[in-house]
Structure formats: structure tokens, C-alpha cells
């Protein structure tokens, strides 16, 4: 543990500080958006968006390295692909009632496929593994600034439209009957989810996005009486998982992403078991 703390303050290891700070500040959007994803039960949609991100990353790499368009990097591609997926999924959920899951599945796979095809045509060796499984130790100063910007956007918009987001998650039909334009609020929610997912891809990678988005919120849900409490707890749990995960991965010399996910899953399992035991004891 002391080695971990000294590593944090080691001036020759700035990447470690960035990783830790990014993890802590990124917990804000992860916890807040994760709460909405859990209560609205759209983790499948979050999964589809995260896999579409690879398509954007592939396009970004291809344009950058094969076409020489340097301003369009993988990050820009990731953001655009995630937002595009959010728009498509909003349209699908409002117009194709029965076939929604098929479209989600298709988008999920097509996003991946497009990404891999672009990467195949990109000169030089690109390892898709780093995108699939992420690495928080590779975050740059630019990523950290993206995190801060996302904090402001998520806190601002959720702060302003809190009750509308809540209404769309709890009872969209009733909200519509009260004259709310629920389609736009849902689109805004999915766009915020998309931006958060781009960040998550950086931290834990495409494949494990859903876990870090939903597990802290699911744990928090067991202790919360309302959405606000759930968000607050989810943020704290998420930050704890990331910091603890980084510490353990440093100590055991194992990749950080999987360690963070395993810790989150273990805590989730224990809260579930704890809840069962508590209800059994009450009886």
C-alpha cells in the first residue's frame, strides 16, 4: 500500500497521477449516468453504444494514418460514433416497438465490424486489444481535460433537468401526457450516456463498459430511497472501485481494468447476499 502511495507522488510517474485523478473525476458521470441506465433498464443500449465506439475509433485511425487527416483522430471518431448510435437508438425505441432488441444487437455487431475493417486498412500495426480492454494508465492530459469537461456537462444538464430525466425513467408515457417532449429528453439522456461511454472505453475498454457503468449504481440501489441518494452513492462506490482497483493492480502487477471490474462485481455480490440475509433475519 505504501508503495502505491509513493507511486502516486513519484514525480517520474506522472501517468499514475493522471490515472488516479481521471478515475476519481470520471466517477461523477459514471455514477450519475449509470444510475439512469440501471433504473431505466437500458444497459443493453449502453452496451450497443460502447461497441459502436470501436467503429468510430477505427474510422479515426484510418483517416489519421491512411488519409493524413490529422485533426480527425480516434477520439473524435469515438465521440461521433457514440452520438450517432444514441440518435439511432432513440429513433428505434420510439418507432420500432417490437424489434428494438434486434436493432440493438445488429448495431452492436456492426459497430465492431466497421471498426475492425477500418483498422485492417490502416497502415502500421494497430492493436485493437487496447481499445477492447482499455488501460487507465495510458490516459493523457487531453483525456483528463475531457473528463473535466464531461463533469461540467453532466452535472449541469442533470442538475437543470433532474425532474424531467426522473419522469422519463419512471413513467415516460405519463410524462408525455403532461405535455413533456419525452423524445428529446430521452435523446439527451442517451447522448450523455454516449459521451460517458467514450470515457469509460478509455478506462476499462469497450467490453467491460457495461460493468463499470451499472455495477456501482446497482450496489448503490440497494441502499437508496431515491434517485439522488443512488447517484451520490454510485459516484462514491465507483471512485472507491477505481482507486482500490488501481492500488491492487499496482501491488499485484496485473492489468487495472479487469481488477476494477472484479472488485465491483465482488462488492455487488456481497450486497446482494447481505440483502438476502437481512430480509431472512427480519422474518
Amino acid at each position: 500500500m505504501t508503495e502505491f502511495i509513493s507511486a502516486v507522488f513519484d514525480p517520474t510517474m506522472p501517468f499514475f497521477r493522471y490515472a488516479l485523478l481521471t478515475g476519481i473525476f470520471a466517477s461523477l458521470p459514471f455514477g450519475i449516468i449509470g444510475t439512469f441506465v440501471v433504473v431505466r433498464r437500458i444497459s443493453y443500449i449502453a452496451g450497443a453504444i460502447s461497441h459502436c465506439v470501436l467503429g468510430g475509433i477505427g474510422l479515426g485511425l484510418y483517416l489519421e494514418k491512411a488519409m493524413g487527416i490529422t485533426w480527425f483522430g480516434p477520439m473524435t471518431g469515438a465521440v461521433l460514433a457514440a452520438l450517432l448510435a444514441a440518435v439511432i437508438l432513440t429513433l428505434v425505441s420510439h418507432h420500432a416497438r417490437q424489434r428494438e432488441d434486434s436493432v440493438i444487437g445488429a448495431l452492436w455487431a456492426v459497430g465492431m465490424a466497421t471498426g475492425l475493417l477500418f483498422i485492417a486498412r490502416t497502415p502500421g500495426y494497430v492493436d485493437p486489444m487496447s481499445y477492447l480492454f482499455g488501460n487507465i494508465l495510458l490516459v493523457s492530459k487531453g483525456d483528463f481535460l475531457f473528463v473535466l469537461a464531461l463533469d461540467v456537462v453532466v452535472l449541469g444538464l442533470v442538475g437543470i433537468f433532474y425532474h424531467k430525466f426522473l419522469a422519463v425513467c419512471f413513467d415516460e408515457e405519463f410524462a408525455r401526457l403532461r405535455g413533456m417532449r419525452t423524445g428529446w429528453i430521452y435523446l439527451l439522456l442517451l447522448c450523455l450516456t454516449a459521451l460517458t461511454i467514450v470515457l469509460l472505453v478509455r478506462v476499462v475498454g469497450i467490453v467491460m463498459v457495461i460493468a463499470l457503468l451499472t455495477l456501482p449504481a446497482a450496489v448503490a440501489g440497494n441502499f437508496s430511497r431515491n434517485i439522488f441518494q443512488m447517484m451520490l452513492l454510485a459516484v462514491l462506490f465507483c471512485a472507491a472501485f477505481v482507486v482500490l482497483g488501481l492500488g491492487v493492480s499496482f501491488g499485484l502487477d496485473l492489468p487495472s481494468g479487469p481488477i476494477i471490474i472484479v472488485i465491483a462485481a465482488i462488492v455487488y455480490l456481497f450486497t446482494l447476499l447481505g440483502g438476502r440475509v437481512m430480509t431472512a433475519l427480519k422474518k
Binding site: V39, F170, E173, N226
Partner: protein, 255 residues
């Protein structure tokens, strides 16, 4: 004629509706007058919920028209308090009773924030349904009957003139059901009540008229059923619906 139309709370004329090629409702004509209390009965899949969604403007009829206070349903929506089935809600959603009821006040500001009047109105509706003391409780920790009343309180917080209820008595016990009809009787003094139920044979004596929906909508007469046996069976007086017999839009009963 025009005068009469304006006085109607809901007017449905020559309406038909189908999902894809499956006809759900056909040749529907129905007038609901202000302060009417109408019970819509019918088998599952008979088109009851579809009828509600057409009145709310969530669905558009293939032919014919729906008018609510002589306006399109989309324009008159805010005058309707809608009470969906409570069983459709996620039993794990963390939200308090007061937060649910406050949703009846949505759509009054751009950001969706509630003013002090909104909260007062919500508390008043909770008091009216006898739930003021559980306002802070989580929605998931209360009984089915209480949840049903919370949704009625939410509809009352909207401040509309029509109350539309979708199978509110499903899965609640007789004690709660009696309380429920007491509440409806009180509300009927200032609102039109339009309720759907899956019970086909019996309806509470509270209702002035009964409509039967099974692709078509018929107004049936009712026969009062009293007697100790029925009281024992159902915990109160009922009226039997005469599906074998049709009557005018006003409805009537055989005592």
C-alpha cells in the same frame, strides 16, 4: 347540436382502429358527459386499453374521430388525469411517494422544477386520497392498494376534469376496493369518471352507466343484485350487466 357537442367530455364517433391488420375496435360511438361515471368492461384483448389510449391521443384512429371537450385529444390532454395499472411499474425503482405525485405537476416549467404551489398541490392530493402520512415513504415499500391510491393522487395533482382509470381494482383486496369506491364517489362530484375493468359480469353500484367493449362498444343495462349471498360473496351490493340486451346511450337499470 353544436351546443351538445361542446357539453360532452368525450365524444367518439364512427371510430375504428387496428394494429397492423388485426381489427381491435370497429364502429365505436360513445359519448361521455361531464360528471358521468362510466365503467368499461370487457374480456382481455377486447380493446379496453386501446380505447383509453385513443382517448388520451397516444394512438390515432384509422377512421372516425375522438374529441375531448370538443378538442383533439393531444390538445385536451392536460385536462385528463390518467391512472395506469400500478403493476406496470418497476418494483425496484427508488422514488418516494411524494416524488411520484409531483409528476402530476410536470409540464408547467421548461426545466421541470416544481414550485412551492406544485408541492402544495401534490400534498393536497395525497391528503385527499388519505396518504398524507406516507408522503416520504418509498413507493416500493407500500401495499398494492396504497400504490393504486398514489397513482390516483398523481392524477388529481394534474388538476384535470376527467379521471381515466385502467383496471384499478385488479389485485387489490375488498377492504381497499370499498375505500376506493368511496373516494370515486367523492371525486365524481367534480370530475367525470371513466374506468376500465376486466370484470365482465359485475360492476359496482357506483357507476351510472356500463359500456361493454369487445371490438364494438355497447351500452348495457344493469340489474341490481342485492341480498345476503351476494354481499357475502363480493362484500357489497353490485349490479349485474345484461350482455344479452342493449339500450340507448343513456343506459338504464332494472331494479
Amino acid at each position: 347540436m353544436n351546443q351538445k357537442l361542446q357539453s360532452c367530455a368525450v365524444t367518439i364517433s364512427d371510430l375504428s382502429f387496428s394494429y397492423d391488420s388485426q381489427v381491435v375496435l370497429t364502429d365505436v360511438n360513445l359519448e361521455v358527459h361531464p360528471f358521468d361515471s362510466i365503467c368499461v368492461v370487457g374480456p382481455n384483448g377486447g380493446g379496453k386499453t386501446t380505447l383509453i389510449k385513443l382517448i388520451l391521443g397516444l394512438l390515432t384512429p384509422d377512421t372516425g374521430t375522438v374529441r375531448v371537450f370538443d378538442k383533439k385529444p393531444e390538445e385536451a390532454r392536460l385536462r385528463i388525469g390518467y391512472v395506469p395499472q400500478y403493476a406496470q411499474y418497476d418494483p425496484q425503482f427508488p422514488i418516494s411517494v411524494l416524488e411520484v405525485v409531483c409528476m402530476g405537476r410536470l409540464g408547467r416549467s421548461f426545466t421541470g422544477r416544481y414550485s412551492r404551489q406544485d408541492r402544495e398541490q401534490a400534498m393536497k392530493s395525497l391528503a385527499e386520497t388519505g396518504l398524507a402520512d406516507i408522503a416520504a415513504r418509498p413507493f416500493t415499500f407500500i401495499s398494492g392498494g396504497q400504490r393504486q391510491r398514489v397513482l390516483i393522487a398523481r392524477a388529481l395533482a394534474c388538476g384535470g376534469d376527467i379521471l381515466i382509470l385502467d383496471e384499478p381494482t385488479a389485485n387489490i383486496d375488498h377492504e381497499s376496493e370499498l375505500q376506493f369506491f368511496d373516494l370515486l364517489t367523492k371525486l365524481n362530484k367534480r370530475m367525470t369518471i371513466f374506468m376500465v375493468t376486466h370484470e365482465v359480469g359485475f360492476a359496482s353500484t357506483f357507476f351510472k352507466r356500463v359500456a361493454c367493449v369487445n371490438k364494438q362498444v355497447m351500452i348495457h343495462p344493469t340489474s341490481a343484485l342485492t341480498g345476503d349471498l351476494i354481499r357475502e360473496m363480493y362484500g357489497g351490493d353490485l349490479q349485474m350487466i345484461r350482455h344479452d340486451h342493449c339500450c340507448s346511450g343513456e343506459g338504464h337499470s332494472h331494479d
